[in-house]
């Protein structure tokens, strides 16, 4: 019999909930035509057929992930009428911080006017960052450290790609999100699966910019800009097939949830071909498997909250939905959550 934790650590948290979500996207829309001069129409069409991205939004040089998350947080706090003094922690999940130090969460605490009694820190995770961040935020709330937590999650990966790299140049879009997490008295629970396999670190990496010099002896990096994102697509696909179906089955099993009772499966928007293959493998019906990669591209850590505010806003604003969230990729790191969400007082997408 397979071990219960074969696809990751199982955690159940009861007594905390999501109270609102806002996503912020930059106003600069980039269509596929933009890439034709660099790659040619035929190559663009071939890549687009695989990744499924029609348009994406890119932040200008002056706009950072923190700016997007800040705007999302301002709208969220305004709509929920949260007293800032009640926010005990700010968790900022990103791989595109403003500076190498200090933690951008500190700057956001000040910019948002949060009290100095607020705990604030950054978490360096990408594709798995949203379910991971929810686990952290809910854990903090349930620890008694605070009753309200602001979870800010986003990335501007477009700034990290080489414009001449066919496998990454077209794929990514930018977005920043804010999620309100608080202690609640209701009887629901959130079931998490959390996992890591750093053996895959080299397959999705920006080699330079940290403090380990580029001594990576990897022939795949020869002749490349080591400050730009490197992705080995087939390795990532292999990883995804190995991990994601098992992770999703495990979170449902641990929650004792019937797959038919799941209202929607929100997967990290990695690449449309991969998503369709995973949905088919898991026998998830199309109407319960929303995708927005066609409109926004792969927005890294922001893709799951962006699905909440773009495609699910209409339903979760009105009623409770049982959702499966699944994040997987860079690290390798992966996390899934099965939890009820809604009705939400605030769920919307804003343009910065």
């Amino acid at each position: 019999m397979a071990a219960r934790d074969r696809f990751g650590r199982n955690v159940r948290l009861a007594g905390a909930r999501i109270s609102g979500v806002v996503s912020a996207i930059p106003s600069q829309q980039v269509s596929n035509d933009h890439f034709v001069p660099q790659f040619g129409a035929e190559a663009v069409a071939e890549v687009v057929k695989m990744i499924g991205v029609q348009t994406r939004y890119w932040a200008t040089a002056a706009l950072t992930t923190a700016d997007l998350c800040r705007r999302a947080a301002e709208v969220l706090l305004d709509r929920l009428r949260w007293n800032k003094a009640d926010i005990g922690a700010l968790v900022y999940v990103t791989q595109t911080p403003d500076h190498r130090l200090p933690a951008t969460a500190c700057i956001l605490q000040d910019n948002l006017g949060l009290p100095t009694s607020c705990a604030a820190f950054d978490v360096n995770l990408g594709c798995s960052g949203y379910p991971y961040g929810l686990w952290i935020a809910m854990s903090l709330a349930l620890s008694g450290a605070c009753t309200r937590v602001l979870l800010l999650v986003g990335d501007t990966i477009s700034k990290t790609v080489s414009s001449t790299d066919r496998s990454t140049a077209l794929l990514f879009g930018d977005a920043g999100t804010a999620t309100a997490v608080e202690v609640s008295g209701n009887d629901g629970f959130a079931q998490f699966v959390l996992g890591t396999d750093g053996a895959g670190a080299r397959n999705l990496i920006i080699p330079n910019g940290g403090f380990r010099s580029s001594a990576l002896s990897d022939p795949r990096l020869a002749g490349r800009d080591l400050a730009a994102l490197f992705m080995d697509g087939s390795e990532i696909f292999n990883f995804t097939l190995r991990s994601v179906p098992g992770m999703v089955s495990q979170v449902l099993q641990e929650a004792a949830a019937d797959p038919g009772a799941v209202d929607a499966y929100l997967f990290h928007q990695a690449n449309l071909f991969m998503l369709n293959h995973l949905a088919k493998k898991l026998k998830i019906p199309k109407e319960r498997f929303p995708t927005n990669i066609d409109r926004f591209g792969n927005t890294s850590s922001a893709s799951i909250p962006l699905l909440l505010t773009s495609d699910l806003a209409g339903s979760i604003a009105k009623r409770r939905a049982n959702l499966v969230l699944a994040g997987f990729g860079v690290g390798y790191s992966w996390a899934a959550a099965y939890l009820p969400v809604g009705p939400l007082e605030c769920v919307e997408t804003v343009v910065v």
Binding site: G233, S234, E235, N238, F273, H277
Partner: protein
């Protein structure tokens, strides 16, 4: 193998009748996109997962078939 050849023909953008074990992949668009598509095709048809690196090194369709046979035997 029938459905597998049809799928492979779609990926390689050639007629299905042209696909055989002897087909030379190196003369076709056997690139990273084709490799990823083939991983999915093989997973669908045979419920086994091929390694992308090994797949990229295949020179003929027979090499892919050998990888599938090896995985099925595991």
């Amino acid at each position: 193998m029938e459905a597998f050849y049809v799928g492979l023909a779609e990926i390689l953008e050639i007629e299905a009748s042209k696909v055989s074990s002897e087909l030379n992949l190196t003369e076709l668009a056997w690139d990273s996109l084709a490799v990823i598509s083939t991983i999915a095709l093989v997973d669908d048809q045979f419920s086994v997962m091929l390694d992308g690196k090994a797949l990229a090194q295949c020179q003929r369709v027979a090499d892919i078939e050998a990888l599938i046979a090896k995985e099925k035997a595991r």
